[in-house]
Symmetry: C3
Subunit: 252 residues, 3 copies
């Protein structure tokens, strides 16, 4: 992919965000991109390839937000971006003129996404690359849902290399004053009642699992000197529930 881009645009600046997404894990790639994309300068082209459907009728797409381009398969990999960004336009990449030939059925990263990203970097207009569409594939929303008993349900959206379980809860989903007080988080049947401000903060309650605000802006479940994911056998997609006597949803 890098060779293809540089052959078209030798001045392209290539930055690797990660090559460690677990195989075929579209949701994990969607989170990773969400956590990183806004640190880059406006005009950056984000190229993401976790593509189990390569060669099938799934569409190759381009998404244009106010500041960025996103190129990759239409399988939900960009849906967290679309959930956050306003005024997004989505294009199905149909103009084979910008594809590598021969076009394989097994590596569109090299044959479609990289050459299209290179074309964008040289100033080719999205309109020349394909047709605008309005039905891109979406993963389940990151928004928590309210349960009948007043609890609020979210899910694990990422597990980092330390085993910290990133949940879909953001500060807007919680009363600020709840954090560290009435907060009770449940993951895999285990209640997490402790909140920490930083990972190595003193454990004062004799419990080894705690909640913490992670760097991507989501609430995490972490463990003292170990992997929270291993401890509760958590995986991406697992449900996380916030219980509270008072309403747990922010009134903002």
């Amino acid at each position: 992919m890098k060779g293809v881009i540089l052959a078209t645009n030798p001045a392209a600046r290539l930055v690797d965000i990660t090559h460690e997404i677990p195989g075929q894990d579209i949701a994990d790639a969607a989170f990773t991109l969400l956590a990183a994309y806004r640190e880059f300068s406006p005009g950056t082209i984000h190229l993401s390839v976790v593509d189990p459907g390569v060669g099938s009728p799934r569409r190759p797409i381009l998404i244009c937000s106010r500041d960025y381009f996103f190129v990759g398969p239409d399988n939900g990999i960009f849906s967290y971006i679309m959930e956050r960004e306003k005024d997004v336009r989505v294009f199905a990449l149909t103009n084979r003129e910008y594809f590598r030939e021969p076009l394989s059925n097994t590596f569109h990263g090299r044959d479609i996404f990289a050459p299209v990203a290179a074309a964008l970097s040289t100033g080719v207009s999205p309109r020349n690359l394909g047709n605008e569409i309005d039905d891109p594939v979406q993963l389940e929303s990151l928004k928590p849902t309210s349960l009948k008993n007043g609890d609020v349900a979210g899910r694990v959206i990422h597990i980092d290399r330390f085993g910290n379980c990133v949940t879909s809860f953001t500060p807007g989903d919680l009363h600020r004053e709840q954090i560290g007080k009435g907060l009770s988080l449940k993951l895999k049947g285990k209640a997490i009642k402790q909140f920490r401000n930083f990972y190595s903060e003193q454990d004062t309650k004799g419990d080894d699992l705690f909640a913490i605000w992670g760097s991507a802006g989501f609430l995490e479940v972490a463990a003292c000197n170990g992997s929270a994911a291993d401890r509760v056998k958590a995986k991406i997609g697992d449900r996380v529930v916030i219980s509270s006597q008072q309403s747990a949803i922010s009134s903002q």
Copy 2:
């Protein structure tokens, strides 16, 4: 290695292809290079270091093809390139003037290959780096061999991160019309009779292993939602046999 190159040529463009070759696996490195090198612009210097014989009398070499340079140990790592490229010239790197000092016995990537690659990138001629040779080390050829019973034997040349087993068979080794019809591939005693056009294509035969043309141009053995390598306990070098009533070798 990157520091050494940039200290000599601050304008050098560095591109990482991979750092995930299994330890000491020369054949896997040879395949990986074969799969990637032609995507890069003419003039690219390919630097490859899988070098279990570092410090021994094995030679450091430079290979010049029409479009590319290849720098690394003379252990077969470039032999698939040499099998494919025409008019290749090979040089033993003997001019210590271009080596890093002190020269270690344990890391020629840093002490010989990186500084030589940097020298090439600044325009130093191959003739100044050493003497032309005609006996570089070669791995077993990628060409399949015909067996007495009419079968054709190849081998596993790479196992990717998904467990797909890349074989040494190319389209030229098979009748096009055989693929998906009379094709019967045997790997580790297991017959693979199904062919797919893309990984997620519907399984219509109730069998979980299938053959597919991979992105590097070789036939792969893959598994539905799993690792083919794990399923048949395959490793690099394992024999793969194509059986057929008709001749399995293309008449082209």
Copy 3:
């Protein structure tokens, strides 16, 4: 982190040394940096983030040696550098003007170290980034210690991907003539009596563990076709002892 740096200084040259330090292993990061930093051109800014204390009162620091800058947490990660370099100045990074906002408690790589490195790369003076300090955190010294019985004790400071155990012994710690002769190295109760000049050198003594000078200038314990670390169950920090009838410490 890369996005943050490039947003401040689009001309910055980014070079990845490694992303494979075991989680929270400060000593391993300290070794890796020590092994690589001097290959880079003067003026290079080395940014290192293994930071289990992120968000705690541990200080963010900048170290200025004659040729290089080092940015990261004050947890000992730079202490091997400080042990080797002369005339080092250390600054606590206190000027929030150069931090990313909002400042998290969980990712100072992105919020402090990357923006400070970017600022340095654009010419901001260390004096503007914080106050000079004289008490940076230091790991245990790399210098071997003499034992009462005349033996000399060092430790394992790194285990590479092949399982080679890098010790803290350098050529200055040994009589040159001892190597390959009277050398007896003990690691985890196992005596290593063989010395090799290169990894694949012929084993003539029927023993599968051997000592060898590694590329970073330290004595290593390695194994024939296998992992020395696995064979003796070594880990970073394990004691290594050199025994000798004669004094084992160089008189230089």
